[in-house]
């Protein structure tokens, strides 16, 4: 009885979480009467076939992907190095760095966005608002997540592993490549995926610092004031499906490697 109650409760929660997404997906197949895709009219596949028929939507998506990939890549390298420095080395300002790294995570986005804009506007000689400033802003907040995740992983594994590698004749570079990196790679990957998702998703900070450049969220915000075409739902649904595919892939991969190690026993 109790178990059933729990199942029902869980299903209700999942339903509650999924309902908005379901609506988004459903309305990606709608053929709206006016400029706003708010009322169900009739089923069509046109929106999916002509997903880029809205002026600027394709460029916005490409910009989002470019910013997301580039910022995630740079932030992952940078964040990993910071984490290693904080965990493995003693240096002046280590404690301060440790605290400052948390700031972008704990500061309200609107404050971050506004402050960054102030910075960029005061240094127009170096920074013109656009792709570059969006990229810098995204690296800044992704780095925090990378540092925190990789740091936890570094603290979690036996320091003697690296000493053992040195002991067995590996120099510092080889030790990093053969021991440290493989051990922190899962943490780096997890943090990078999260960072990428945050970057694709971010509106507030990006809006402040985008100038004339449009990422997908900024594009949607702009267009929503005059019309909401169903293509927006199409892109949103596609992003959701990709995310689901990645998650399922991950589960499958873990299941397979678990089976492989069991097979070796």
């Amino acid at each position: 009885m109790k178990r059933h109650a729990l199942t029902v409760y869980a299903l209700l929660v999942v339903g509650y979480l999924m309902l908005p997404i379901a609506v988004v997906i459903l309305f990606s197949f709608n053929k709206p009467a006016g400029r706003f895709n708010y009322v169900w009219e009739e089923f069509t596949l046109d929106n999916w076939v002509h997903w880029n028929s809205i002026l600027g939507i394709q460029d916005a998506i490409i910009t989002s992907l470019e910013v997301g990939l580039l910022a995630t890549l740079v932030a992952t390298v940078l964040g990993t190095l910071i984490a290693i420095a904080i965990v493995r080395h003693q240096f002046v300002g280590r404690g301060t760095t440790n605290v400052l790294v948390f700031l972008p995570m704990s500061t309200p986005e609107i404050v971050l966005g506004a402050s960054l804009l102030t910075l960029f506007l005061n240094t127009t000689a170096i920074f013109q608002l656009g792709f570059g400033t969006i990229f810098i802003a995204h690296v800044m907040f992704i780095v925090s997540f990378i540092v925190v995740t990789v740091k936890a992983r570094l603290i979690g594994f036996d320091r003697h592993l690296e000493e053992a590698a040195l002991d067995l004749g590996a120099n510092e570079v080889t030790t990093f490549r053969k021991i440290t990196l493989p051990l922190i790679a899962p943490a780096m990957l997890a943090a990078a995926l999260l960072g990428f998702a945050l970057s694709i998703d971010d509106f507030v900070i990006t809006y402040f610092n985008a100038g004339a450049t449009q990422t997908f969220p900024v594009f949607v915000w702009g267009i929503a004031r005059v019309s909401v075409p169903p293509q927006v739902n199409v892109v949103a649904s596609a992003i959701f499906l990709v995310a689901i595919a990645l998650a399922l892939g991950n589960v499958f991969w873990q299941y397979r490697s678990a089976k492989k190690t069991q097979g070796a026993t």
């Binding site: 592993l161 002991d167 026993t265």
Partner: protein
């Protein structure tokens, strides 16, 4: 290397085992707020099994880590063979370490772990395969090559750690309490196994432990450490039969220390008046006469040193009966061998004479012994 030089070197080894493989000269290691190692000098001959023995926190691990290259000494010099290695990173030292936590690489197979050192030396594939298989055979893990470390038991992991170090044929193998995590039975078994492997490969072993029995069973030479210093260094029998300090006497087995004053060339007058004869080693003044519990006989005839007393407690412990005797010089412990099944041990309350040989009597500083009694 030609065969004749190899032969000559080989014979050199057997004739003069005093070629030092590891030499420490006045090594000091200070951390921010403490001195972990406080002026250690020692020489470890090639091919020997050397144990660093001492209580927790006495600086054993720190000493080992300085030899391995993971810590640099604050003062002093460290030689491997004839080369001063201070300042050299671990990967440029011809030593390998077996870590207390084993430190096996979790993402590599057993094979991968063992091959790691050889790969760094760019040993050709065929030779590498052969050597890995050979060493896994030696430690009895041939069937486990493809497994991951976490799929092995503690004892098996310990042997992988050993194989991973040994396969490189280092000049010296450093072992930091490698048996600490094992249960008693497995530990005893691994002690013998380690000893066998050391005989087989002939590499110098430096073994850190705080278990005196382990050090005694395994090592040719033991350095007893305390507070960052070496208290005494020598073969196990010497440390046991002739401890130089009250600390060593107390750390290796049980001993009775009777305070007194040196009188003449080979005698000590105990504080309560009895005169016992001892091996003085040139000591004079206030000392303590020491004797091991198993060297004392209950009743006359055990030797010319005699001390009267009253039995206060007896406890049967299988191989021996432990007897506590109250004497005017202090409480004395005696281990009486259970030679035959009949209970020859007198009951508590009986007045007896304890006797032992002068050769079994050692001398240590009295200041130490007083301190030791206070802490007990």
């Amino acid at each position: 290397m030609t065969d004749t030089t190899r032969e000559r070197q080989g014979s050199n080894l057997s004739q003069t085992p005093a070629v030092a493989d590891v030499r420490l000269e006045d090594v000091v290691k200070r951390f921010d707020d403490s001195t972990a190692v406080d002026g250690i000098s020692l020489e470890i001959p090639r091919g020997s099994f050397f144990a660093l023995l001492g209580p927790s926190g006495c600086g054993k691990t720190t000493t080992l880590r300085m030899i391995g290259g993971f810590e640099e000494p604050t003062e002093g010099r460290i030689f491997l063979g004839d080369q001063d290695v201070v300042g050299r990173p671990p990967y440029k030292r011809d030593v390998n370490t077996v870590f207390q936590s084993y430190a096996l690489f979790p993402h590599m197979s057993i094979e991968g772990n063992v091959a790691f050192g050889l790969e760094r030396k760019r040993v050709p594939k065929d030779e590498l395969k052969g050597r890995v298989a050979e060493i896994l055979e030696l430690v009895g893990l041939s069937g486990f090559a493809k497994r991951k470390p976490r799929q092995l038991s503690g004892g098996q992991q310990q042997r992988v750690a050993l194989a991973r170090a040994l396969v490189n044929h280092p000049r010296v193998l450093l072992l930091d309490e490698p048996l600490g995590a094992l249960d008693l039975k497995l530990r005893k078994q691994m002690q013998l196994e380690l000893k066998r492997i050391q005989h087989e490969v002939g590499i110098t072993f430096v073994h850190v432990t705080h278990d005196q029995e382990e050090a005694m069973t395994m090592a040719d030479t033991i350095a007893v450490m305390s507070g960052g210093k070496i208290e005494q260094l020598g073969p196990p029998t010497e440390l046991y039969e002739r401890p130089a300090t009250a600390f060593v006497a107390g750390f290796l087995g049980v001993s009775n220390l009777l305070p007194g004053t040196v009188e003449g060339a080979d005698a000590i007058r105990l504080d309560e008046g009895t005169v016992v004869r001892a091996v003085l080693n040139g000591r004079s003044g206030q000392v303590a006469a020491g004797v091991r519990p198993e060297k004392i006989s209950i009743g006359a005839g055990g030797g010319s040193n005699e001390l009267p007393g009253t039995i206060s407690e007896t406890a049967y412990i299988g191989v021996a009966t432990q007897v506590v005797v109250r004497t005017a010089a202090g409480t004395v412990q005696v281990f009486a061998q259970n030679m035959d099944a009949g209970g020859r041990i007198p009951a508590p309350g009986t007045n007896v004479v304890l006797s032992w040989a002068p050769e079994s009597t050692f001398v240590v500083d009295r200041a130490d012994s007083v301190m030791e009694e206070e802490t007990e």
